[in-house]
């Protein structure tokens, strides 16, 4: 894996932006890619391929891990002309989305990283957070509190 000694974005930020890219809508990535002009030279190291990953869960978040089930995932790896390698891992079978996620992962490691972080990753993360809040608000409205009745003897 090629790492770029970038002053602003560090490898420690990478899981964050890869996660945001993985959860972003494909259309948003496509639009953003159209806005990257001129597109850098790149080639596929590993063409998008679909597979299964085992999802593990823990009861209550802290019990014994158990295999919840398998989910489809698509991965892709690209290389830019400067040698930077980008990986994209996304849920589902959208090959193009995996390719775009890999391309943005590669770009984010380079000098364009800080700019993209502000123009692409931050809005996408905000969108995802808003959607999450909306869902939990809708769920909270229908919440039933099971109060423990203290039974007297």
């Amino acid at each position: 894996m090629t790492t770029d000694d970038n002053a602003t974005l560090t490898p420690a930020d990478r899981p964050y932006w890869m996660g945001v890219l993985a959860r972003a809508p494909a259309a948003a990535l496509e639009t953003a890619w159209a806005g990257v002009a001129p597109g850098p030279a790149w080639h596929l190291l590993r063409a998008p391929e679909c597979g299964l990953v085992m999802v593990q869960g823990r009861a209550g978040g802290n019990g014994q891990p158990f295999n919840l089930g398998e989910m489809t995932a698509t991965r892709c790896s690209v290389q830019l002309a400067d040698g930077t390698v980008g990986h994209g891992y996304v849920a589902g079978r959208d090959r193009r989305k995996a390719e775009l996620a890999a391309l943005f992962d590669a770009l984010l490691q380079g000098p364009a990283g800080p700019g993209l972080m502000a123009s692409l990753i931050a809005p996408l993360a905000a969108q995802a957070a808003a959607a999450r809040t909306e869902t939990s608000r809708a769920a909270a409205a229908t919440r039933v509190d099971f109060l423990g009745l203290v039974r007297s003897r």
């Binding site: 063409a47 290389q79 040698g83």
Partner: protein
Amino acid sequence: MTASFPAGLAPGFADPALAAQVSFRAALTALSEPGCLVALGHGLAPPPPPLGPAAAALALTLLDHDTPLWLSPALRPAAAYLRFHCGCPPAAGPEAARFAVVTAAELPPLAVFAAGSDDYPDHSATVIVDVAGLRAGGPLVLSGPGIADRATLAADGLPADFLACWAANRGRFPRGVDLLLTCGPLLCGLPRTTLVGG
């Protein structure tokens, strides 16, 4: 995409499932008919030098995360490529490897590789040797299973004591290592059953 890319990593098979089957079939042919030259690695993007297309195609076909790989020093530049595409862990030394890719000049004595046991002769190493030249009709005379009468082979650059090493390897049958000789896109199998005379 005319830009040049750094050599350390390169694309693997364009169609991994199909290309790996074709390469596997080629490896089977090569091992069942020692001395027969087969071509493979068609459609594979050029691997990082000095790894040749046949050696790369074999590696991409045969290696996975269960097969520790040892590379001879000259082939270390291809380590990242093989790790990326195959996920194979690096072996600490030739003795710990299930597969080894070596150049002919750096071929260690065959006795250092895992030879399996009498109960499990399949627990041996398979060594892919990238030789300087490979053609039929040379000084090596092959005979044994899979060869009607005798086959002749020229493999350039093998160590001077190769014949003695091979005889020793043949002598500990059913233990022993199998060789896959490659040069460019060509492959020739040399299983442990084959007798090689000079």
